[in-house]
Structure formats: C-alpha cells, structure tokens
C-alpha cells in the first residue's frame, strides 16, 4: 500500500518537488544546440574575414536572425543551468552559494538580452 496521495502520484514530483525539469531543460537545450552550434560555426567561417557590411547583411536575413536568436536563447539557458550545478557542487557556504547563483543567473540573463537586442537592432536595420 502506498502512502502517497493520488494527486501526488499523478504529479510525480517526489518529495523534492522539483529537479527533473532542470535535468530535462539541460538535455533539450543540449540537443537543440547540436545543429545550432554547427550552423553558427559554419556561418562564422563562411563570413571569413568579413567586414561590417558583410556581417550586417548576413544578420539581416530573417533565417539567420531567427536561428541566431534561438542559438542565443539555448546557449544562455544551457549555460546558466550548467553553471548552477557547478556552483552547487563546489560552494557549500550558503550565503556565497546563493549570491553566486544570483550573479550567474543575472549575468546570463543580461548577456542573453543584450545579444537579442543587438541581433534585432541589426536585422531591423538600425
């Protein structure tokens, strides 16, 4: 006989209430990053020594802009999830751990939003 309530069994979260979505998001972004990263490396190589005009023209293409936005989202989401685990593994002083987590997650968000702004500015021709 299980002591877990029917609702608890349906939710399937266990006693910690969270954790699986961290693991899952890490894997989903990892899978997304395989093609996106290869595309990005190929694009950077194809731009070669490209000057400002060539790189801007490349980013004004809607396909490139959208793929770049996806790359930025997946990269920074994957990055903050990964760094979170590293911090939780090695920093055991509670105050330092929490402040490091806030700084890393805040910095990831800042870098991600700055990237999105730059991409949109160029692709809308600003």
């Amino acid at each position: 006989m299980s002591l877990r309530s029917p609702l608890g069994r349906v939710r399937g979260l266990g006693s910690a209430k969270s954790g699986t979505e961290h693991f899952w998001a890490q894997r989903v972004t990892a899978v997304a990053l395989i093609p996106l990263t290869l595309w990005f490396v190929y694009s950077i190589l194809a731009l070669g020594s490209g000057d400002h005009a060539a790189a801007s023209a490349w980013m004004r293409s809607p396909v490139n802009a959208v793929l770049l936005l996806l790359l930025v989202f997946a990269t920074f989401h994957h990055m903050q999830l990964g760094l979170q685990v590293v911090i939780e593994d090695y920093i055991h002083a509670e105050g330092l751990k929490i402040s490091s987590l806030v700084i890393v997650k805040g910095a990831s968000l800042l870098l991600g939003v700055a990237s999105v702004f730059a991409i949109l500015k160029v692709s809308f021709g600003g």
């Binding site: 070669g48 020594s49 400002h52 990269t75 990055m79 760094l83 600003g126």
Partner: protein, 131 residues
C-alpha cells in the same frame, strides 16, 4: 561513532587517474570556459550593432595573437563539449555504459574534437580567416 576498520573511500590524491575521469572533468571545465567565451560572442554581436568602429575593435582583438590563442582554445572547448555532450546524451538514454565502450567513445570524442578544431581553422584560413 567509531568507523575505525571500515573501508575508506579513496582520497583524490592517491586515486589512479583514468582516461574517462579526465574527460569527465574536461567536460565541466570546457563548459565553464565556454561560458566565459560567450563574452566574445556577445561583444561581437554588440560590436556589429554598434557600427563600423566598434565592430573593427572586436575584429582587431580576434586578429591579435592573444585573441587568436583565446579563439583557438574556445574552438577546441566548443567541439570537445559538443562531441562529449553527444556521448553524455547517449548515456542519458542508457547507451554506452560498458567500460570498454565508455573508454573507446572517450578516445573517439577526444580525437574528433582535435580533428574538428583543426578542420575549422584550416577552413577559416582558406576562407580569409581572421585577418
């Protein structure tokens, strides 16, 4: 509580280094390194958005020898983390846990990361490179 004669878990200092263990640590290290590397990507994007002068500043860094060394390191970290990440995804679905398989896929991943890095730089040079 006395645990006098219980077996101790091996101390890190006397733990025999293994290939798979080194690769596992490298996966994490390359991930942290790539996190720092995103700064260059964001700088490049902001530089592009900022106009010709700010873009040339980024290109100037990347074509400097110091920038090239950084970029080479990040290229390798990227390909290593990518290849070893695929190896990890295999483990996530339960494939490749046998000791021999894990060791062999480790060799393959490490070799692939170096080959892909070399290939990317060769193609980069051929396409005009970072001049």
């Amino acid at each position: 509580m006395s645990n006098g004669d219980r077996p101790l878990s091996p101390h890190l200092q006397i733990y025999a280094w293994q290939w798979t263990m080194a690769l596992s640590i490298l996966h994490r290290a390359s991930g942290v390194g790539l996190s720092v590397g995103t700064l260059l990507m964001v700088w490049w994007l902001l530089g592009l958005a900022g106009g010709v002068a700010s873009f040339d500043l980024v290109q100037g860094f990347v074509s400097h020898w110091l920038g090239k060394i950084c970029l080479l390191g990040w290229t390798w970290a990227l390909f290593y983390h990518l290849c070893n990440g695929i190896r990890h995804l295999g483990w996530d679905v339960g494939v490749g846990f046998e000791l021999d398989t894990a060791r062999n896929t480790g060799y393959i991943v490490f070799a692939a990361s170096i080959v892909l890095t070399g290939l990317a730089w060769l193609v980069g040079q051929a396409m005009g490179g970072v001049s």
